[in-house]
């Protein structure tokens, strides 16, 4: 079965630097000044990945996807100051609009699963790229954005 990308991942925003809880989280072993990058690396390492994969044409979470999402949920519950954005992707050979909808459906399934595992809904947003970001995205494609002044971290995909 060909794996299709999906998403999930990390996020933190420059605004986080102002959050009291965050400043205390020093990670001396990592020589990275940017706390967002530190958070991202920690999230990816603890969750077993920032991306989960789907069967082509399907938005059903696989067992493997559930395992990764469960680890992500655990991490997010320990980091209530971090928000993540789940970016869903459609299949590259799909038509434009169905790919958009399928990506949105995949992102929503992942988001719903995190919420089912007791991650506060406000901590997780979801969007779709459809087939606009071709190829398996690497962790470096995760974007940090600020939305409405709220800290937003991206889960990727």
């Amino acid at each position: 079965m060909r794996k299709i990308l999906l998403f999930a991942a990390i996020l933190a925003s420059p605004a986080l630097a102002q959050l009291p809880g965050l400043r205390q989280r020093q990670v001396p072993a990592v020589p990275v000044a940017n706390p967002i990058e530190v958070l991202r690396a920690d999230f990816a390492a603890q969750s077993g990945g920032t991306m989960v994969y789907f069967i082509p044409g399907s938005a059903t979470l696989t067992q493997q996807a559930r395992t990764i999402l469960a680890a992500q949920a655990m991490w997010l519950r320990q980091h209530p100051e971090v928000a993540v954005r789940i970016e869903g992707h459609g299949d590259p050979t799909d038509t434009r609009d169905h790919a958009l909808a399928l990506g949105a459906e995949r992102a929503a399934e992942a988001r719903d699963y995190l919420i089912l595992l007791a991650v506060p809904a406000a901590q997780v947003s979801a969007m779709t790229w459809g087939k606009e970001r071709p190829g398996p995205p690497s962790a470096t494609t995760t974007l940090v954005e600020i939305s409405g002044g709220a800290p937003l971290v991206g889960t990727a995909g």
Binding site: T95, D97, D112
Partner: protein, 432 residues
Amino acid sequence: MSASRVLLSALVAASIAGAAGAQPSPSATVIALPPMTSPDSGTKGNESLAYAWQATQLIETDLRQTAELMPLSPDRKDYYSFPEVTAPSFSKWRERGAKGLITGFVQQRPDGRLTVGCYVYDVDKGRELGRIGFVAAPGDLRRAAHKCSGLAYKAITGSPGMFDTRIAYVAETGAPEARVKRIAIMDSDGFDHSYVTAGETTVLTPRLSPKGGRLAYVSFQGGVPQVRVVDLGSSSQRPLLPGNAMTFAPRFSPDGSKIIFSMMLGTNSDIYVVGANGGMPQRLTTAPGIDTDASFSPDGSKIVFESDRSGTQQLYVMNADGSNERRITFGTAAYSSPEWSPDGNLIAFTWRFGDTRRVGIINPDGTGEKILTGGPTDEGPSWAASSRELVFQRTDPTGRPGIYRVSLDGSQPRKMTIPQDGSDPNWSGAMD
């Protein structure tokens, strides 16, 4: 001298007006197109004749784009006098095998503008089929000529011409992993090309209003895909709906008063309709799964859309209020991105099986399915106003998308000349 410059620019215009002409089908109607004339005399007369020759060449280029009409090449030996515009010599053209004849004139007005007149005749019967006249600035001679082409096309085929129409599409530049996408719009002959968005955010699926004055498209500007509506005259634009719901796949109703679109609610995509100027959206589908890509029938009474409720994408037709849903495709392939033809007789779609995508047509009752293109990466067909031709997107083996036209007569698709790569083409109806 100035006349020869005008002539030169006309020839250049004709050569960039697009891809090679359509292969005329054996049943194409032969049209005589002698050089248009002028009542003006002297130096002015020479200038007017240069304009007339330019218009004649533009009409020839237009008609060569069609599969239904085959113009005889204009020959300067066939010049006629101004009175002969309305009293042509039918026997001469009958002998040369022409079934139709286009005559016309260009006259310069004191205010610097031009009066352009065109006449279309049935050569066998010696009868006028139609006439049309304009006062136009010299810079609008091209559009006047397109109107003449449209008159001839409609007189011979009964269908509206697609010569004075616009095509919107997504202009693509940059590396595959970092595409810059801009909404672009041009006249269907490739002229008057301009960009509607600046490329700072990803944009998709421009859809023109029936007369080409407004455009709906999808933008990622707010972080999620959302439909926006642009007035092309004033360049003012706004989101279709307030809020942050994901909306996509917009299309105008045939009268331009409404926009039909898709909206995600949780894991479900359904079809909604809302006034083109806003208001409360009305939900039309409720099935679980992805319902999207809705398109109105030309009388506004029905809607075709795709749904994967059966497991694969298939086409469905329902009434405009959402009632009486009926599935019309039952193949093992997937059928998607339907668009209803302007004459109401056909629905174009993207056919997908495995990784192969092709463009096809089907009757609204589900009979008469026909695949028009070979693929393997063809998608997103949009009808010409004539209902006899489609524009669609084809991606080449290196991953670069281009815009192609294909006639329903089985001829090969032709690539359109645009300044960069292009995707998601959409063809307007005839402009006013």
